[in-house]
Each structure stands twice: as C-alpha cells, then as structure tokens.
Amino acid sequence: MKCEGAAEFVSALCDGETIPREAAEHIGRCGACGARLNAYSAIGAELRRVASLEEQTEFQAGSWREVPRAQLTWWQKARTTMRIPRFAFASMLGMIVLLSGSLVLVRARTGAGGPVLMLTYKIPPDGRIARCNITTDENPGTNHCLNYGSSGPRGLLVVNVRFVRKEGERTELGVKTRYKAQAEDPGIGYRDDLSDVPEEMVWIEPGNEEKISVPGLGEIELRGEYLDHIPALLFRPEEALDPQKNEFRIVSPVLIRGKEVVFNFVGSSSIDSGDQEATLMIYYPGAGRYLISTVPFEGAIQGTVQLGQIKFSLEGQDYLLLTAMPTTRLEHVWVSHDAQYKLSEHMQGASDGQAMFMVRSLSRLLQQQIHH
C-alpha cells in the first residue's frame, strides 16, 4: 500500500476506528504517514484547547415560558419515524398526486408561503373567527390591520395588528386590543387607533398558536399562515367558483349606469349563505341606495343574472353590476333604487359620506333601523 491509499485510514485511526491490516502495517513503517497521524492528532488537541478557552464559564439560565403541549398527530408521528429519505418520500407523494390527475398542485401553488401573513383569531366566548391579512414588509398601507366587531351580548372588541419584523418563518407583530363590555355597536365608519393601549409583542409562526389576553374578555387565540397573495375572499378562502344553493355573494362589485361608473368597490366582498331572501344593499353618497334581492319585493323591478353580471333597467337607464365571481344560482333578481335614502337615518352610527355595501336578509334591510 502507498501513502495515498493509507491517508484516509490515518484519519480513521484518529477517530478510534479499526483499519485494514495492510494499511496499519504501512502506517507503522512509513514516516510520512506517521507524521500525518501526529499532525491530525495535534490539530484535534489544538481545536479542543481552543474550544476550552472559548466556552463561557457563566451561562445564564433561560426563561422558558410554559407552552401548551399537544398530542402528536399521525402525520407528525409518521414524520419522526420515517425510515426513508424524506425527500424521496415527498417525491413519492408528489408523484401520486400528479398521477391522480388532480388540480391539487395548482391550488397548493396559489396558497404557498409568501409575503402575506393571514391572521386568524378565535374570539371568546363563542369561538367566533375573525381574520385579517398584512404584508410582512415596510409598506405602511398594507402591513397592519384594524378589526373590530361585537363580541358577546353587547361588547365591542377592537384589535390592531402591526407588522414589526420577520425572521425566517417567524413574524413579530405588535398587537393592541381593547374590549368594552357595555359598548354599543359603533356601526360603519368606526375607527379606534388604540393610541392609549399598550402594545403586546408576539411572534407568529405557521402551525403555532399564540394567545393574547384581552382584559375583560379572555384570551384570543391567534394563528398565522403565509400566502403568496392577498386573498380575494379573506373570510372564505375555500370558496369555489360556483355559488352554493341559497348563496348570494358580491365580490369586488362595480356598478355601471349607461356608460358611467357609479361606484367601484374593488377588493371588498360580502357573502350571505343559506339565506332564502339574501339581498344586496349598496349605498353610495349622491347615488342613494340600491337593493338587489334574490326574492321579489314591493316596488322592485326584475333584473337578469348571468354569472358575474346582473343587468337591469331603472328610471329609464340601463344598469350593469359586474362582480369578480358568479353571484347566485338564480337567473333573476329584483331591484329597487331610493335616490333620497339617508344612510345616517337608517343605520346606527353611520355617516352619509361613507360608501358601503353588504348582503343581508331582505326583511332585515327593510327594517326601520339596522345595524351593520
């Protein structure tokens, strides 16, 4: 054996391994290999000496907050006991999916991790779900969100979430909350910057759940998921193209009168499911109120529905309502217009200067007073 062939066994000797007899004999009589063995040993000793100098003699105790432990799911158990390379396993699964001819891959791509953090929080006491999305960047227009809504019999919860920074898969958020147990519903247009509320910093990581304590209410459970886009339907990301039975959904509506755009609510949506008298109410300052209902009602004219388009004629003018998704399974809707309508007189806390639209039950919208 020559030195080149024995060199790797010199290294193995340093590690306490046994080596082939031929290699052992060569190293024993070869000065160069002996010198290499000494050099390797010296290097190891020197590294350990340096490490001894490096190590801190004092190391502070960590602060480990107790976290709720969940039982491992079957998938987690499978992952930890996988005996074949995970890449190979993942490839195998991928092939199965591909061969099955499904569109799952296409769907997965649209929901893949990205710069948008979709936050879902579960609100006590009834576990109601609220969502908001923020971008994990410095964009002041999109890297925060403010949610409010009634919670409990009469309470009002306001949540303000602000992006702070992102590290790997984790995002740090500044969260402010306020709960007023006896508050009235503030109605549309309500704003609360929570400037007098201390901010709580939380790290959000997909798959983990954080709890935020809200005085007077309890703990909100907060989860996050990264998306590669701001979802078109924040509260119904699973919504299919076809509307469900008794579903009336208005997504990013644009109303055109003749050749004039009356309003354009791109990015907003309102959906009512399981309501046999679902009705769209649109209010626009200067244009008054339009009601577009899935059931006939007094004073309404009939319009036609075709996928994401609703056509009708009112007061001698042709209207076209365009939406981003098919609105209903029905072929007809019924429409009325009240040019003198005052939102402030009908909806508590609302302002006449505030444009809005929502889908609710017809009977509710026809009440004397309504809440948002």
Binding site: E8, A39, Y40, I43, V50, E54, V67
Partner: protein
C-alpha cells in the same frame, strides 16, 4: 444529566426545569460550535437561542433509538445556522472568526487556519474533534451516509493540516 429518552419525554411534557438544565449544560457548547460555523459571535448567540426556543416550543423529530439528544441539538443548530447563511447570501464563504482577532496568539494559530476551511468542513471537524460525535451521529446530523462522513473527515483534516502547516508560525511551532 438524565437519560436522553427520559429527558426528552420531560421536555415534551413542558418540564421547564429539565429543559433549563439541558440548556445550561449544552447551550455554551452549542454557542461555541455556532461561532465556528458562523464566524460571528452575536449571530452565534442568536442562533443558539433560537435553536433552543424552537425545540422548546415544538419538540419533535428526536428519536432516542437513532442518536443522542446532543447530536439532535447540534443538528438542529446546524440547520438554523444554514438558514442564517442563506439569509446572508454567503453560503460556504469562509470567514474569519472574530475570536481569532481577540484571543491570544496561540489560540489564533489554529483558529486562523480553521476559519479558512469551508463551512461544511468546519462543521464536521468541530463536531468530531471537539464534540466527539461518532460517525453515526455525524451522519444523522449532516444527513449523509457514514461512509461519506469518513471520507469528508479525512478531506477536512487534510485541508486543515495543509493550511495550518503553511502558516509560518505554525511551522515554527511544529519544528520546535
């Protein structure tokens, strides 16, 4: 320290005392290791903390019959370090350790040579020579076959030997 299996079960149950004992025992060693890999004292401390925090928050992936908890910890630390490098955009770029500039001359002899090794070789050498990880544990940590561990260790040692012996001061020391 308790048996790995028992310790892991306690960590999984959220036993803060057991976890803190483990943290204090291995935290300094992991930090020193990460300092060699990252060449940056502050980053090493951060990555060390993140590694422990990740295990504390989501304890999964460790199998007592496949390796030691210590190897699992260093493997997790190494992965975190790799993420750090990816963020820096300088993967596998040899860096000079801060330690080499602020410690004694004798310490910097090997430190200078070591810092010139590629990150992968630094990792391998440190885990073997300082942490005493077995070939099987190194294979687990680095996710490579055992045979590859042996050949890469040889390549790393040989590379370090050449660099070390090429430095004038090392020559002097070796000659003496």
């Amino acid at each position: 320290m308790a048996d790995d299996r028992e310790l892991w079960e306690r960590i999984c149950r959220g036993d803060t005392t057991a976890f803190d004992v483990w943290y204090r025992a291995l935290g300094p060693k992991l930090e020193v290791f990460l300092r060699q890999v990252l060449g940056n004292r502050q980053a090493a401390e951060d990555v060390m903390q993140e590694t422990f925090a990740q295990i504390w928050q989501r304890p999964n992936g460790f199998e007592p019959n496949r390796g030691t908890l210590r190897a699992y910890l260093f493997g997790a630390g190494r992965k975190r370090a790799a993420e750090w490098w990816r963020k820096q955009g300088e993967v596998n770029t040899p860096v000079r350790s801060e330690r080499a500039e602020c410690k004694t001359e004798t310490a910097s002899l090997i430190g200078d040579a070591f810092a010139r090794l590629p990150e992968e070789q630094r990792t391998l050498m440190w885990l073997r020579e300082v942490e005493g990880q077995s070939y099987a544990e190194l294979a687990e940590i680095l996710e490579i076959p055992v045979g590859t561990v042996r050949s890469r260790l040889f390549a790393s040692r040989e590379e370090l030997r050449k660099i070390w012996q090429a430095t004038p001061r090392a020559k002097k020391k070796e000659d003496a």
